[in-house]
């Protein structure tokens, strides 16, 4: 007879070194139940936004999550622009997309690299992280920081590209693309060590994704091809053609492959943005007046749909800022993904939702 246990996992060192506590019910080696306890690193960021002005909030919100650090201030700025009726110049739209896609590529590569680390394939982990450095160098050179790229201001962007930086960016893309397309993706697609640990593991169906309101690559790995950039284009995404990546199987492997393919498609989008980059101003002016009002905006962050709701009262300190992050729903889906799985696969399955504690708890 197999015995039933409750095993505590976490709050430290499950997949990512971020705290989340799991109570896993097991029967022998098989997972039968899962409970999650969050709240270890709540920083009260939403509260703090009401204590700071909109300029300071652009930086504060950038610190909600370092991997999605462009999406948070960008979406926040979009709500204020909606409230004040600010027209963001076309060049700024393109520069925002460029910042977005650079961040997306680096974020996705980070997640798939961690996958390799979890299955003990550390040389692959190193290889992907090394390739990702090409994108990190782009961020450091163009924006001045490896993670918090500070691209946005209210009404536009605060960085510009000239001939030199464009040449640099394109050159970096030329270096990264072949590594991603001809080395990394084929390894994840065919390597036996990767396939045997990730195929058929952590399954979630498309219907469950809809039920749980899943977003981003997690849902697209189950064939739910919902991408805000396409269903509700913001910036100038409506002017650019690209395909939403999705795979039907809904396992750990599919979610990783979706991320890898998206990274590749981001490179193509980046090239297209640079090619079409219109001339003109990069922002609508330095000091916008934000009247009282409320607005909602959404973007496709690397982890999925990011929604911001903001109320203002006519001062430059917002009355309320609320964000709904994609990770929030994705955590809940772990209950489906883990059921019937093996204890040894827990970190792998957790990593497959690209978990982000810093934005969940913010």
């Amino acid at each position: 007879m197999t015995r039933t246990f409750d095993i505590p996992i976490g709050p430290l060192h499950v997949a990512l070194e971020e705290p989340m506590y799991f109570k896993v019910g097991v029967e022998g080696e098989t997972i039968t139940a899962l409970d999650l306890y969050a709240g270890h690193v709540h920083r009260g960021i939403e509260y703090l936004t009401a204590k700071r002005n909109i300029y300071q909030n652009m930086v504060l919100l950038e610190h909600v999550c370092s991997l999605c650090s462009n999406s948070h201030p960008e979406t926040f700025a979009m709500t204020l622009e909606a409230i004040a009726g600010i027209e963001v110049p076309p060049r700024a739209h393109y520069l925002r997309m460029i910042a977005d896609e650079i961040k997306r590529t680096a974020s996705h590569m980070f997640n798939v690299a961690i996958l390799a680390h979890i299955i003990g394939f550390d040389s692959l982990f190193m290889h992907v992280m090394q390739a990702r450095e090409i994108m990190q160098d782009v961020k450091e050179t163009i924006f001045g920081n490896r993670m918090d790229i500070a691209a946005n201001i209210i009404g536009g962007v605060r960085y510009d590209l000239d001939a030199t930086s464009i040449a640099f960016l394109l050159n970096q893309l030329d270096q990264l693309e072949p590594v991603l397309r001809d080395e990394i993706i084929p390894i994840y697609a065919t390597n036996r060590s990767v396939l045997s640990r990730t195929k058929g593991i952590g399954h979630i169906s498309r219907a469950d994704c809809v039920d749980y309101g899943l977003m981003g690559p997690t849902a697209r790995g189950s064939g739910l091809a919902y991408d805000v950039r396409q269903v509700a284009p913001y910036s100038a995404y409506g002017e650019i053609e690209f395909e939403a990546q999705s795979l039907p199987d809904g396992d750990v492997w599919s979610r990783a492959m979706v991320r890898l393919k998206e990274a590749l498609s981001s490179i193509a989008i980046l090239r297209e943005c640079v090619r079409r980059l219109p001339p003109g101003p990069i922002s609508a002016g330095p000091l916008p007046r934000i009247p009282a009002g409320e607005a909602i905006a959404k973007t496709e962050a690397p982890r999925g749909e990011l929604v911001y709701y903001v109320t203002t009262d006519g001062t430059d300190v917002p009355a309320r800022v609320r964000c709904r992050v994609p990770s929030y729903m994705n955590w809940e889906a772990l209950k489906v993904m883990m059921k019937g799985g093996h204890v040894s696969d827990i970190p792998l399955i957790v990593n497959s939702i690209d978990p982000c504690v810093s934005c969940t708890e913010r």
Binding site: Y55, H127, G144, A150, E183, I187
Partner: protein, 166 residues
């Protein structure tokens, strides 16, 4: 793709990491590092204090001057001060060598003094528009503007409306 081949290629390429601290680590010119302030260009408008995300910039006043104080250890290198500074007096250098000894931690401070002037008419002490601000505000700074800026706001109002008919 054979992973062995990747390993061999990487071996052939040699180390991918920077040799720091035994060699130089490359630093891009645009890197956001330690903040620097140009005392002569600062006009004391306090915009940098208003936007400073980390609360690193603080102003203080005494009878003679306005003081800008920046605590580098509180700065998050966001660069907002540099973006919004009207005279570009405040900039971010690409110096990231900010580590220091524990006993020096309260010394990571820069201090800029913007002296007050006495009004040439009534003698009241006030913050006069500094040269960089005048250059921003006027195409050419003539004798009239120069004379008016030596007056405190009250005397300036009286002076500039002198001779105007009600």
């Amino acid at each position: 793709m054979n992973f062995l081949q990747v390993l061999i290629d990487n071996l052939r390429k040699g180390p991918a990491t920077e040799p720091f601290p035994f060699g130089d680590a490359s630093t891009p010119a645009a890197y956001r590092g330690r903040v620097a302030i140009d005392q002569d260009a600062c006009v004391g408008c306090r915009m940098c204090e208003h936007v400073c995300a980390g609360g690193a910039i603080r102003f203080a006043e005494d009878n003679e001057a306005l003081h800008l104080v920046i605590w580098h250890n509180t700065c998050v290198s966001c660069g907002l001060c540099a973006v919004y500074c009207p005279t570009k007096a405040i900039t971010l250098t690409n110096n990231w060598h900010v580590s220091h000894r524990q006993e020096d931690k309260y010394k990571q401070v820069d201090h800029v003094t913007i002296p007050y002037s006495a009004c040439t008419s009534c003698g009241v002490v006030f913050l006069k528009a500094q040269d960089p601000l005048m250059q921003l505000a006027y195409k050419t700074v003539g004798a009239n503007e120069t004379r008016l800026r030596d007056l405190c706001p009250d005397c300036r109002r009286v002076e500039s409306s002198r001779g105007a008919r009600p």
